[in-house]
Symmetry: D2
Subunit: 494 residues, 4 copies
């Protein structure tokens, strides 16, 4: 790596304000949204509160619950965490009714707007409808523009509304027919929950990028959730996953499964296994913690680093680190501590204070790492900023060597199906070699898990691996041009 | 154990409301307060904000910072977490000045009152003084009563004020002399920070129950903190611990160490190592994570249980669990997950929902424990309620056996030096045999670490172990009667 | 009046809860909304904050400002008073830009929803638009239903959105043409402000029910406001009123006046003069305080009551009362005092406390009214509840006689053009004779101003007087049926 | 007046920031605190809430209620208005008990501190006590210093605490004896309410500077209040005033009146009549509105100005203005309007905007004053700033002449008994002639009511008139030096 390039990177981050640090961290890798729905339970809103709290890691910008009380829909939503939006017992109590759809929304960069908080609630003269969405449409811009040209007015910036406009403009005589038409018009990654006055409808895109599962409670109530960890918290038992291309109607008659398309090709987002999902969730039958621990084991076999101790970056990399430690026979130590209390760093007047500010979130344990050769296991590298900072923390605390071992392949391509990495310029591995990255982050060595190793760890290959190899499983529609542009900009490094 | 007794315990907890669950959890074992002070740094308040945040685990009821701005003292304090009390940049900015004392206060049962939030700030016609305290006095009731009889008015319910009344009533001609007189009058466990217009004074009781350390920043500023983890976050280096019986004056001339008594006997609270302190702190030179991991190793040697996997109760028992796993050769797995988002459970209308409510905080990982014989490592048992609940979570998730291994001896005696366990009735081990406890919590086996094992794990014996063996290192003064009463009530079981 | 009827009324009100009292008071007579806009001032948002505050009496449910910053629109809105919505300097500061439209919204009964707070802000692929509205459409239900049938989705319950759907669906090639088409489709009372990227458009219904005026600042900036009192507060000078049927485009070229219809018939809402508008506003060139004072004078000539003192009900009736006092030669006294601090009465456990609760807002001055024959001047009677309460307050304070003199005719018919009196059942004068009302409110005499007297006091007859005589100046469209129903229910009393 | 002096004044005010405007307005003339207590009513706290709300004009910084629930005292207090401190029904509900003392505190300049909010609540080992205070001690500094020298610690900056220290240090065998000793030690203006476990004690200084009255409810409950207006709001009847030098014990045996001194000399603060008290209160049997109206009548006789209309400055001068109008035969008009909604002016970037900002509070009614010679009646002039501003508002709105008529004599001397005018530098009349003031405020003429006229209007001469003539009815103790200094500074003008 040319020195000027390295310097530029270092300069940039030294010039970072505290806000930029926070922004970087927030932007690193984030999942867009979590869904939870209940049919047939007298305490539906309360269960949804529990369920959304279990899915809180999928989105912290806002939360909402829409409840169906014998045909009358009521909603409570707001900006912030589930516990911030639902502050009082009465916020739950007023949501009487036995069916709900709920949503947690991911914090997008820039200003957040209450208008975008889901579920959406539409009051029509012929009855109310509710809608919640997890994912990203690849033809949203085109569809929205066409709809506006024919008089449609959108009330939010969210792609989610598009589906409702398509449904309302369909001329199919049956409601389910109108929904199917709409589902065949939108493209990309999507899991939808729709609430009608006598049912909840769940639908998943033909690739099944996002997880969506159905569970049952002991009283017969049906629950739907983005992750199975939300079933445990309400005492529900998993019964089936929503399959790609399925549209499932849940009502008093039970669970009615249909397909809106036969052209399906399962490619589950591999990032759900690597980073997003909670370790206690199962996706397509595979436990996430177990997959991560296996990825650590395989990484240890592939990397074969000589060192004294293994540590994980809390919290998402602890599973992989313990797998690495067990396979390598090295002790698994707590070399980094995450402060369990959320910090605000404010604006720091000097760089020295800024650096101290960021230590509020993560501390190196001097008593553990001092004088040791450390293998630091992390789940992924996006920009490299965080890794560089942690390596420095460890060396400041006396580690003699820091070997970075990443339990996934290098991320080189953006995602267009619902993960917030759409700009290749932000991906350090898109334009740098392993050696360059290793130098930038200040590590003594850097190893990534191989793509084969990842597939082996997860245990099946029905995966979207486009972040690593650029093989997108669908056409990119509105993003095609953006993608090609980004390739051109980094043409030399590929 | 007689069946009626067991039933009584089970009935009690089944009748627990959600609020009682929360109360129990909060009350289980809590440390009272953390201290942080700075001398000689232009951003003293900001550093103190960082430092208190690192000490947040020592108290969540309230926080405050008192700053000395060239002799003028200003204070900001409030109820809640550090980040709730200091919400805006201006809350910090207005605290200009180069010296501070700061405090985080532990959440006592019952109503909290802003009046009790420290540091205290006294405005006298002859100059202002500040005071902050960690610990518990054993002769507070007697002293307060005597002082009131001679006209003193207390403005809070806190013991802390007593020291200031003693100082102000002393007739010693020197301020330091007055402070020493006062320190020799109070009894029990105490670490004090006093702010005068030209110094910070730190003092520790003759037994050194509570930790208190001094560090130095690169610009020469001196910091004082209850735990060394707060040094790392502000970039300070540890230089010395405050020793039992010492009174240390920090001012522009440097650090001046004196003693207020020669009658010292170091007995550091062993609970700091077992449960309270952050793993990245060093107490008396011993790293807390390392001591805990060793306690897990020794426990594995002592217990020798046949099982498939080892899991820790997050977060405080993870070190011990990994030590246990390494020593036993069993895999260390993530069998329990703590939701990183704080939950509020509200009032739940039914027992079923209450149970689901408590699952919001801790989930068993079905994919990990199903069909497995599990060793569940925890740091301590107080009432047994929490253990019983976690054992049930694990069995509900499919664990075939749950062996509870506690990385400390059984707690049978109350603490009077600053930990909130003053009622023997609350201590399950005070009135039950191991077999009875094992049955109550529903475990397949129950093992405690031996007292010798604990001392070996920590690596020195200058410890207060009264919780385990009742050998209090000082007279109990106002608590003597209370203690004897409690012994009488449980006389058979001892 | 039959005694049983009277008793029923008394019983009803005695059974009123404190909340019902509050509700009644709030519902009595309320104006729906105030508008304020600026074109061409660098501090446009700040001026709008001042202007909306001056119009706060026209609506307290919510407020908002939409600003145009060189084509980029930004909005801040919220529930509550202007000062509650704009709490911090930064709420104003962030609204950079030289053009604004602002809105205060009236508190409707039932739940309030942030979605309904104006101005509305629409983001289209071909540019943003803003919209704010004061008034009530009489064909809203019909239009909304038709629009939804052709696929339109509404994002609020407000009638205001309808205009935007009509504009967007118009096929006229010019934007102004599309707006004119839309204005000719909606019926009823409306004053609109529309913001485009290069202009503000103001429009008034063909009857001019609501006031809307244009002013100029010393730097050439143009302001638009519902009432002229808002001009004074920003230092603007009135230059013209928006006339019925006019659509006025304000941009960098100046003020361009057009008409969207020639079929106009000016009938200004007489309630603006009687009750709603601020005394320092001029409507159609007539000062509101002066009109009210004249109404008091004419009322004194018509009523000719023998008494000792004249008092007004604060604050809206003080002008009329002083006119009455001067004409009658009786002293004008402060017999009633309104507490200038807003009170909340909470839920009162007993009727005795409820009565005391309501006294928090209005007190009789015993030292003034004791032993006196009092003429109590009020602006209007809606339900009679408030009058009955005030008469009782005065008698409790020792007034020997209370003569109620109302400075407007009796209200017998609902309003469909933007005032919240749509139910004749709520209008005591719709179903009771003067004598019955007098008995119900417990007064010694009751006089209303004659309709001719009102016209004389205001000084012109381009007024809507339908509340008094039922002569609605337009067809009622969607309300026709509702109106006829209400007539039938009270058929005997008319 | 020399031009340079005038210019200086004008410059000063032109340089005023918006915050200074606000500060000036707030500081102009303010009463320090209001008291309300109840003995023997099951809803005591609720009544106190009503009573404090009626006394809100006496203090807006904070409010509190201390309740005695069978010997257990509970308190709720906070910063802000009564309705801000008591936000929820539960804030009242939790204050069960049949006796209360309550307090509203005046907003002092500078930072406000919750510690100073009353009632104070003291927990002693021998029982709790409560204390609330209205007034100002003249020997507080001396007493506090002496007490501190003997070891006393104060918990607030308030003078109020002093009394409790004196009580606790008294060696009198009886509690009432200790209180009497303490009352004879403090000097100045004071009205106290003390709560013991079985009584409420009310006491008034030997001059009776502050009003304090006792009332009775229909159920026999006793209420105490700073002003009689608070009786009306709770349905109580006035029965007696607390007389100077009295100490009154209220308990289950009834009302027991004693004296703590025989050396009394009644000199009620004349400002209570002129400005502070609510018009519906009676002080020493004189209705405040009536006294003000009479002062307006006498002012009209004394001033004899030729003009077209009379207007009052809302709200405190409306009574005097209507008296002036009636006596002069000129019409009483609404020439100024106070916006009933509280405004916040924020920081205004330019002087032009600052001026507009201040108009948010008070508007001139152009339609009324344009082309008219106006007599503007106000109650008093402190700094002249407000008067200058209002004169300008009226002239900007077209008044051809503005004659300022002040319904009290010129204020030349500070108050040391509880009103916030302690600095002669702030009193424009202390250093300027009438002609100079007239020029500074830009009026066409300026008249003050004569001192004899004031006494005639109030109807008795048991008044403190020191603000006007410097004849203080008591020694000034700690303020003696300050007062003499202030005289020296303005020596020429006296």
């Amino acid at each position: 790596m040319p020195n000027e390039l390295k310097e530029k990177h270092l300069d940039q981050s030294i010039d970072l304000t505290a806000e930029e640090w926070v922004h970087f961290e927030k932007k690193s890798l984030n999942e867009e949204c979590g869904l939870f729905g209940v049919w047939g339970h007298p305490a539906a809103a309360r269960l949804t509160y529990f369920g959304l709290h279990a899915l809180q890691h999928r989105g912290q910008e806002g939360a909402g619950i829409l409840v169906n009380d014998n045909g009358m829909m009521k909603r409570h939503r707001g900006l912030g965490l589930v516990t911030e939006v639902f502050r009082d017992e009465k916020d739950i109590e007023k949501l009487t009714g036995s069916a709900t759809i709920g949503h947690v929304r991911y914090a997008t960069a820039g200003g957040s707007d209450l208008n975008n908080i889901q579920p959406f609630h539409f009051d029509f003269h012929d009855g109310a409808l509710g809608l919640a969405h997890n994912g990203n449409l690849t033809n949203a811009t085109t569809l929205r523009c066409e709809l506006e040209k024919s008089g449609a007015i959108f009330s939010s910036n969210s792609d989610t509304e598009i589906l409702m406009h398509l449904i309302r403009r369909s001329h199919h005589p049956e409601f389910m027919g109108r929904v199917k038409e709409a589902l065949n018009t939108v493209q990309g990654g999507f899991a939808y929950l729709i609430m009608t006055k006598d049912s909840i409808i769940a639908a998943l895109d033909p690739n099944g990028f996002r997880p969506l599962s159905i569970g049952k409670m002991s009283n017969g109530a049906i629950v739907v959730a983005s992750e199975t960890c939300a079933f445990d918290v309400v005492g529900a038992i998993w019964i089936q996953d929503v399959q790609p291309g399925e549209i499932i109607e849940i009502n008093d008659k039970g669970i009615h499964v249909e397909r809106f398309t036969e052209k399906t090709n399962t490619t589950i987002c591999s990032m759900e296994y690597i980073y997003f999902a909670r370790p206690d969730s199962n996706i397509a039958g595979v436990n996430v913690h177990t997959a991560r621990k296996r990825s650590g084991r395989i990484l240890a076999q592939e990397a074969r680093i000589d060192a004294d101790i293994v540590i994980g970056v809390p919290n998402s990399s602890l599973s992989a680190a313990s797998g690495y430690a067990e396979e390598s026979g090295l002790p698994y130590e707590m070399g980094l501590i995450k402060n369990q209390y959320v910090a605000r760093t404010f604006i720091q007047p000097t760089q020295e204070l800024r650096e101290q500010g960021v230590r509020m979130k993560l501390s190196a344990v001097r008593g553990v790492v001092e004088g040791k050769r450390v293998i630091m296991v992390d789940d992924s590298i996006v920009r490299g900023t965080t890794s560089r900072r942690i390596v420095r923390l460890l060396k400041d605390a006396g580690a003699t060597e820091v070997h970075v071992a990443i339990a996934s392949p290098a991320i080189k391509y953006p995602c267009f199906y619902g993960i917030d990495i759409q700009d290749r310029d932000e991906l350090i591995a898109a334009s740098h070699t392993n050696e360059e990255i290793c130098e930038i982050i200040g590590a003594d060595s850097l190893n990534f898990l191989s793509q084969d190793g990842l597939v082996e760890a997860i245990g099946h290959d029905k995966l979207c691996l486009a972040y690593f190899d650029g093989n997108y499983p669908t056409p990119l529609y509105d993003y095609e041009e953006e993608y090609l542009d980004s390739l051109r900009k980094n043409v030399v490094k590929l």
